[in-house]
């Protein structure tokens, strides 16, 4: 198990630490604040590489829509800074702390980027991958390198930002990132549809998303289907009205949430709070074509009637809680996804369970082999978070 911690204070110290680890044959457990350490395959690393010593905003230019920051900067600090200028991280990074058995409000922005996390606005604004403009960091050869930049449009060289986002720290250790930010909406309102079953709810959400009313959140909780509309006041008013008319034939009860209530509601959806999770429950995240969501859940419930689920992303994201089991029911969950495509990630389970079953969706052989070659092209000696992605 982990014995000691290295805490570099500058990008150059970070590079030296990696170079030393390479020469020493030491594997590194790379951490921001460790808020997501209970996720992924359990690792047995020789050292913790703690990035919290590399912290702070380097540059924030609101009219450029870009913020540049050190890798250890807490997400809360970034969000507070942006809020002062009425801006936001449009991909709505969730706070998975409580779900993973930690306190709320922790985590670094780079940690969220490394998991390619995204909240309800994934639908319209994209995930972390869509907002990482560039970075600098250290590869597994102990070399400092960079990719991307600070500008909105950039096709110079391969888009390594996309690759690093979602790599869970297994390719390179970042010391600095530039992230795209967007204006925060003046108003946020929510139309609630009451009493729809899963299938009707997903049909309603897909219809709303296919309308010109610019929906920025579409979630279905048991008994309650929520559609979010954001923007300037006159527009929000008009779109809400049009949306009500569009969905009138559903014969569902309708309610509205104002801006403050909406913000609280969508924050809960973002953080997976609506999922009924017992203390030992395992939690899965399933990404699928939106219209397939209800059938997938139905297949799982046929075999595991006590499963709890809710939908985000218009049905394309299923949060699923299952009672404890030695194999997290992974064959049932992944078997339910079917031929229309999608993948399931085991978000929460005991260390023993995560060690025993694939946390990430297994890939076909050719793709899995390609992923290994990609990993080795950055980190040939497997220094960074070895085995975390399985």
């Amino acid at each position: 198990m982990t014995t000691s911690t290295i805490k570099p204070r500058s990008p150059e110290e970070l590079r030296q630490a990696v170079e030393w680890a390479l020469n020493d044959g030491t594997t590194l457990d790379v951490r921001g604040q460790g808020s997501k350490i209970a996720f992924g395959k359990p690792m047995a690393c020789d050292q913790v590489l703690d990035l919290s010593g590399l912290s702070g905003v380097v540059d924030y230019a609101p009219e450029e829509l870009v913020v540049t920051l050190r890798a250890g900067t807490p997400i809360s600090e970034v969000e507070a800074l942006l809020a002062q200028r009425n801006q936001m991280l449009a991909f709505e990074p969730p706070d998975l702390g409580p779900l993973l058995g930690q306190e709320a409000g922790q985590g670094t922005l780079v940690g969220a980027v490394m998991g390619n996390l995204a909240g309800p606005r994934r639908l319209s604004a994209g995930a972390a991958r869509d907002h990482l403009l560039g970075f600098s960091g250290v590869n597994g050869r102990g070399e400092s390198f960079k990719s991307g930049g600070k500008v909105m449009k950039n096709v110079t060289g391969y888009d390594l930002s996309k690759l690093l986002a979602g790599s869970w720290g297994t390719l390179a250790v970042l010391d600095q990132v530039s992230v795209k930010v967007l204006p925060a909406p003046d108003q946020t309102r929510t139309l609630l549809l009451l009493g729809l079953d899963d299938a009707a709810a997903v049909r309603a959400m897909c219809a709303a998303l296919g309308s010109p009313h610019d929906i920025s959140g579409a979630a279905h909780l048991p008994g309650k289907t929520a559609l979010r509309i954001e923007g300037v006041a006159p527009s929000v008013e008009a779109r809400l009205k049009a949306l009500r008319e569009l969905l009138i034939d559903l014969d569902a009860g309708m309610e509205e949430l104002g801006t403050l209530e909406s913000r609280a509601f969508w924050r809960e959806v973002r953080d997976v709070a609506p999922l009924k999770v017992a203390s030992g429950s395992v939690v899965w995240k399933i990404s699928c074509p939106p219209t397939e969501g209800p059938a997938i859940v139905a297949r799982i419930k046929a075999l595991r009637p006590s499963a709890e689920a809710f939908y985000d992303w218009s049905g394309g994201l299923i949060w699923l809680a299952l009672p404890p089991s030695a194999d997290a029911d992974h064959t049932i969950v992944r078997g339910a996804i079917g031929a229309k495509g999608g993948h399931a990630t085991l978000i929460r389970a005991s260390e023993a369970v995560r060690a025993a079953v694939p946390v990430f969706q297994p890939q076909p052989a050719a793709l899995a082999a390609l992923a290994v070659r990609v990993k080795e092209s950055f980190d040939p000696k497997r220094l960074f978070n070895p085995g975390r992605m399985g």
């Binding site: 000691s4 805490k7 570099p8 204070r9 630490a17 020469n23 020493d24 230019a61 009219e63 450029e64 829509l65 995204a118 050869r141 070399e143 390198f145 960079k146 990719s147 930049g149 600070k150 500008v151 449009k153 950039n154 096709v155 110079t156 060289g157 391969y158 888009d159 390594l160 996309k162 690759l163 986002a165 790599s167 204006p183 925060a184 049909r203 897909c206 296919g210 610019d214 923007g231 527009s235 008013e237 008009a238 990404s287 074509p289 939106p290 219209t291 394309g316 994201l317 229309k340 495509g341 999608g342 993948h343 890939q363 050719a366 793709l367 070659r373 990609v374 080795e376 092209s377 950055f378």
Partner: protein
């Protein structure tokens, strides 16, 4: 333009290679006569031309797979090609390489309105996708000016943008999945109708990889519902700085317009003479700002933008009152390149990106360079996202002018990098900016990118001579030097 030396052994085996391809793709799908290959000798960077070894136009994924595994086994190079509209020489042939054209992959395979996506073959044109779904009120958002001609496969390879990318994103933000054939002939699918990757985001890596990593044989794109209305505002400013300030002020006020384009005085003059869009000829900087959404929102934002512009000294503020007028406002911008083409034998279109706040300074410095190189420059650009398209006017028949234009172009791109920008915002590196990569990247940066290339194509067979100024062998790049136990622990806090 220096290309890698041709391999005499491959040239000597040409007839054998042609025969092997004929066995894979029957009939007219293999073109080996000079006249037949002529249409493929260049892309839209037409100053550079080269005949390929042979052209092959497969029709099925199985054929693409067999061709690539044959090429891998026989170490034959391959240049993938969509519609050949690349402005950076991305699809320019290589003399000892097969040109693999995807033109026959031209079918829309599936439209799924409920999941808001379309599955198409890579040879379908960008506009073809929007046309296939417009009767239902949908469209595909990224809209390069070449959209009538360019293929979606080419868009994926270049990560193409357009005037609406400010609000709706580039190709990479609008893709859900692709099918990809690797050099080994293996066929893999990345993504699909769902969001995000189960592992590394290889879809993101493929997007903008300029045909160097694999051949795309199917594309799933996200469809959007058309906004109910769109109106354009034409804003003329007595100074370029005023126009640039206005751009920053609009964004700082929290408005992300559907599009925000700028033209300098020269560009306005050319465009006006060419299409008569009613542009103010006295403006030093002209902005076209498009707002889209429901009518109340558009009306509200149009007013706010007009107010901001007046506050920054705009001398012309005109709002389109109907669709016809909106289209007219855009007509001049959309025809800007051909309009400039009317006043010069040739022009070179650059594509640097800079932080918006440095626009004015960059424009001024470009003018100075224009004097130094004794060539005129006209500026049209995506001001909202800081993506410049300086057009350098020259005469290609005059060797000295061509040379000066190349020097001038390189100076502009170096300037972009110096102010914190990049060499290319949407047209790609190709052969055009290949030798400038060292201005933006260190050797280590480039080696890391090449190692990623090696993970896909260890023999550098795909689109050789593009993007990287110097290719290094994968075996050499892959070597890791480890000094076991020789290094003391550095002076870093440890506990």
């Amino acid at each position: 333009m220096q290309m890698p030396p041709l391999d005499p052994a491959i040239l000597a085996r040409r007839s054998e290679i042609v025969a092997a391809l004929r066995a894979i793709v029957p009939g007219e799908g293999v073109i080996d006569d000079l006249e037949g290959m002529r249409p493929y000798e260049c892309d839209a960077l037409s100053a550079y031309r080269q005949m390929p070894l042979v052209v092959v136009l497969p029709e099925t994924v199985a054929q693409v797979s067999t061709i690539l595994s044959y090429c891998q086994d026989n170490k034959v190079k391959v240049v993938p090609r969509g519609a050949g509209t690349s402005l950076s020489g991305g699809s320019m042939p290589v003399g000892d390489a097969i040109l693999l054209g995807l033109g026959k992959f031209n079918r829309v395979l599936e439209i799924d309105y409920a999941n808001r996506c379309a599955r198409v073959q890579p040879g379908v044109t960008n506009l073809g996708i929007s046309k296939a779904v417009e009767h239902e009120g949908f469209y595909y958002a990224p809209d390069p000016s070449s959209q009538i001609a360019c293929s979606i496969g080419g868009n994926v390879a270049e990560n193409s943008g357009g005037v609406h990318c400010l609000k709706y994103g580039l190709t990479t933000n609008n893709l859900l999945g692709i099918e990809l054939v690797l050099m080994t002939g293996e066929v893999v699918r990345l993504g699909g109708k769902h969001l995000d990757s189960e592992g590394y985001d290889l879809l993101g890596v493929m997007t903008g990889s300029e045909g160097l990593l694999g051949v795309v044989t199917e594309v799933t794109v996200r469809l959007l519902r058309k906004p109910t209305t769109a109106r354009a505002v034409l804003l003329g400013f007595p100074t370029e700085a005023g126009a640039a300030d206005c751009v920053a002020a609009v964004i700082a006020s929290g408005i992300i317009p559907g599009g925000m384009e700028m033209m300098d005085k020269e560009a306005v003059k050319c465009a006006e003479a060419y299409v008569g869009a009613g542009y103010p000829l006295d403006a030093e900087g002209l902005l076209i700002v498009e707002l889209d959404g429901p009518p109340v929102e558009v009306d509200y934002l149009v007013e706010r933008v007009a107010e901001i512009a007046r506050g920054r000294g705009a001398t012309t503020v005109r709002v389109s009152n109907d669709e016809q007028e909106r289209v007219l406002f855009w007509a001049g911008r959309k025809a800007a390149f051909p309009a400039v083409g009317q006043i010069t034998p040739d022009y070179m279109c650059l594509d640097g990106s800079v932080p918006r706040g440095r626009l004015v300074e960059v424009l001024a410095e470009m003018r100075e360079m224009s004097k130094k190189h004794r060539l005129r420059v006209v500026n049209v650009f995506h001001a909202g996202d800081g993506n410049l398209h300086p057009l350098i006017l020259f005469d290609a028949n005059d060797a000295d002018e061509l040379h000066r234009a190349e020097e001038f172009g390189a100076d502009i791109l170096r300037l972009c990098v110096r102010v914190g920008g990049v060499l290319t915002g949407e047209h790609g590196v190709g052969i055009e900016k290949r030798d400038l990569m060292g201005v933006q990247f260190t050797e280590i940066d480039l080696d890391q990118q090449m190692r990623l290339k090696c993970a896909f194509d260890p023999d550098h067979l795909l689109n050789p001579g593009k993007v990287f100024p110097q290719l290094r062998r994968c075996a050499e790049l892959g070597r890791v030097v480890v000094h076991h136990n020789k290094m003391p622990f550095p002076d870093i806090p440890r506990f």
